[in-house]
């Protein structure tokens, strides 16, 4: 750069600086606009599952405790009969169960009525190895759940490895969940 050009730039700097600041801020806001505010980064990734113990659904023998997650890679799925998006992913969970890819544990979250969960599973099918009843969000808060459905990948040592917010679709499964599960099962 010649000295003259450099001096010209220096003279224009006071006018260019606000423009540069505007462009940077606009860039940040533009990215922010495209983000889903419900996708909150979880501080629980790579942390062990907090201890919890859920009662069995009505008419069932066993509930679901944090101890059940030790020993194999598993999915923990938060659902509720009131949750519309859970219906979208439900056939997919059934398919995972049928193919025996990974055991799924269910947290039946905030049912107003104790019959509602068992009835829903009887109607749509039960993809879960074990289901616990969580009317007061004990396990949900232990997992830092903000809405349903949410699904966690927990490794054989009981450490949370991934959090999926929103329904599991074929795309999410193929591109994100299944590769992580396979890697953990191999390791």
């Amino acid at each position: 750069m010649t000295a003259v050009a450099a001096r010209g730039l220096m003279r224009r700097l006071p006018y260019l600086l606000p423009l540069a600041l505007f462009v940077i801020l606009a860039g940040y806001f533009w990215i922010g606009l495209g983000k889903d505010p419900h996708e909150i980064p979880s501080p629980l990734i790579d942390k062990p599952v907090a201890a919890f113990s859920l009662a069995a659904l009505e008419g069932r023998e066993r509930g679901f405790t944090s101890q059940d997650l030790i020993g194999q890679v598993s999915l923990v799925n938060v659902f509720g009969s009131w949750c519309v998006a859970c219906r979208i992913e439900h056939p997919f969970l059934m398919q995972i169960r049928r193919e025996g890819l990974v055991p799924i544990y269910g947290i039946d979250w905030r049912e107003k009525d104790r019959q509602a969960g068992p009835l829903w599973l009887a109607q749509h099918g039960d993809p879960y190895a074990l289901v616990g009843d969580d009317p007061d969000s004990h396990a949900a808060i232990a997992f830092g759940v903000t809405g349903a459905p949410e699904t966690f990948i927990v490794d054989a040592k009981g450490i949370i490895r991934y959090k999926q917010v929103g329904p599991i679709t074929a795309e999410v499964w193929e591109q994100t969940l299944w590769p992580i599960i396979r890697r953990l099962q191999a390791g």
């Binding site: 909150i40 501080p43 905030r110 969000s137 808060i141 232990a142 997992f143 903000t146 809405g147």
Partner: protein, 164 residues
């Protein structure tokens, strides 16, 4: 009733202001959640105001009617009753939901831009303005003294002529 006296009008305004000032903000806290120990309940309120409802996001858990907010209020009270101090209760919730759950973000390296950015940008602007004006006033000051000898002589001559 059409012509109120000015005094009556002022009285009504005063009463309205008084009424609004004694009205308390509406909390979503249900009577059955409230602890019997008023000291513990007061601490629970202080904590509840600091925690974000993760469903509605722009309300505290004390303000929110969401089910999850209710469960978090109950959790805060359970932990207080179990003997946790305020810090421990807040840390417990943060360990599960992250800093996002705090309505007032903590001051740490990741949030320095947020806390100090506005002051930095404002201060930078003030500094730039001060420099600009100082340079301008100095420039005009040097201009006055930098007349050439020829100019000085011309001014002197003009002044002489004017007087004469």
């Amino acid at each position: 009733m059409a012509n109120h006296s000015p005094l009556a009008g002022r009285l009504i305004t005063a009463l309205a202001v008084l009424w609004l000032s004694v009205a308390s903000p509406a909390y979503a806290i249900q009577p059955n959640e409230v602890l019997t120990d008023p000291a513990l309940e007061a601490r629970a309120r202080d904590i509840g105001r600091e925690l974000r409802c993760l469903v509605c996001q722009n309300q505290s858990i004390d303000d929110s009617d969401a089910d999850l907010a209710r469960d978090l209020r109950v959790l805060v009270r359970q932990r207080l009753t179990a003997g946790d101090n305020d810090r421990q209760v807040i840390d417990y919730v943060v360990s599960r939901y992250g800093d996002f759950v705090l309505l007032r973000p903590p001051v740490k390296p990741e949030t320095w831009a947020l806390w100090f950015g506005p002051a930095l940008i404002g201060g930078g602007g003030l500094l730039a303005m001060a420099l600009y004006f100082r340079r301008r006033s100095r420039a005009s000051a040097t201009e006055e003294t930098s007349l050439s000898d020829a100019d000085e002589r011309r001014i002197a001559r003009l002044l002489e002529d004017g007087r004469g």
